[in-house]
């Protein structure tokens, strides 16, 4: 069968172009397309895409293990803190107006970002890029990400003042996931920050 003008599974190509690491994305897509047009099946193409994504993810894990461990440890620390005792806002927040809620949110997330700041300082020392300007930058980025992640929760809390068990089943993993993502994004940005001039 002449497959010169045939096209591979569109969904597989979509996954490949979004989930394969950037470095090899274009060349792997080109190579797979070339082999597919030589007569390989759609199933073969899917297998190749899955392997490329998994291998890419594992190599990213190897390259970024410091950031991933940092984000996991930071998430565990933030999640385990007795927030209810530190800020007894659980009972108060539903009676607040939007402005007051936002102020509380900014205060809490700024303190959370301050708490993880020593860990960012340790990361900068590890990468030999420590500088007060870098630390300040990452503090703002981290606080902004925390606040951005909390905004939907505050908005959702207006219509759902009491969280049921089934709602907590997906709301809690989402919150934990966002803390992890915020720390991971911050750590990745921190890694790219230049060394301060000596």
């Amino acid at each position: 069968m002449n497959r010169e003008w045939s096209y591979p599974p569109a969904l597989a190509v979509w996954f490949l172009r979004r989930l394969c690491p950037k470095r090899n994305r274009e060349v792997i897509t080109g190579d797979l397309l070339e082999r597919f047009r030589e007569g390989r099946s759609g199933g073969w193409f899917w297998r190749q895409v899955l392997v490329a994504i998994l291998v890419g993810a594992s190599s990213q894990l190897r390259l970024r293990w410091v950031e991933i461990c940092f984000a996991a440890a930071g998430t565990a620390l933030i999640w385990r803190l007795p927030w209810g005792q530190i800020f007894p806002i659980g009972a108060m927040i539903t009676s607040m107006n939007w402005g007051a809620r936002l102020q509380w949110l900014i205060v809490i997330e700024t303190i959370t970002a301050l708490m993880v700041l020593p860990f960012f300082a340790a990361l900068f020392c590890l990468w030999r890029t420590f500088g007060w300007a870098n630390l300040l930058r990452i503090f703002f980025i981290c606080a902004m990400l925390f606040i951005a992640g909390d905004l939907p929760a505050i908005w959702w809390n207006v219509s759902h003042p009491v969280i049921s068990r089934s709602q907590a089943m997906w709301a809690i993993p989402m919150m934990v996931g966002w803390i992890f993502a915020a720390l991971l994004i911050s750590a990745r940005i921190a890694r790219r920050l230049p060394s301060p001039p000596r």
């Binding site: 470095r23 090899n24 060349v27 792997i28 080109g30 190579d31 397309l33 490329a52 291998v55 594992s58």
Partner: protein
């Protein structure tokens, strides 16, 4: 094995011929993702170097990434060959094999 495939292919060493070479010589259909992961590791160790070729229409306008063995890679391949030969020398003939 991938380093040897790159040496064998010379100027035409990019993902597709490398995986075909592995299939022909070892009988294993290595996934292109794994081939590139191994090539990336070899490049990090300065055993191979890579350059991007021109985009071609049969690849949907995507470029090829050509690999070449560096002098360090060639040296390492020779050392490994020597080590393998001396290791094989100490092994008695296996079943179904001529002495």
């Amino acid at each position: 094995m991938i380093l040897l495939a790159v040496i064998r292919l010379g100027d035409d060493a990019y993902g597709v011929p490398i995986s075909k070479e592995l299939l022909e010589t070892t009988g294993r259909d290595a996934a292109l993702g794994s081939v590139y992961a191994a090539l990336d590791r070899l490049e990090q160790k300065d055993l191979v170097s890579s350059t991007l070729g021109d985009p071609t229409p049969e690849r949907g306008g995507r470029a090829k990434r050509y690999f070449r063995v560096t002098s360090k890679g060639m040296r390492e391949a020779k050392i490994t060959k020597k080590a393998l030969i001396s290791l094989w020398r100490g092994i008695p003939p296996m079943e179904g094999e001529c002495a």
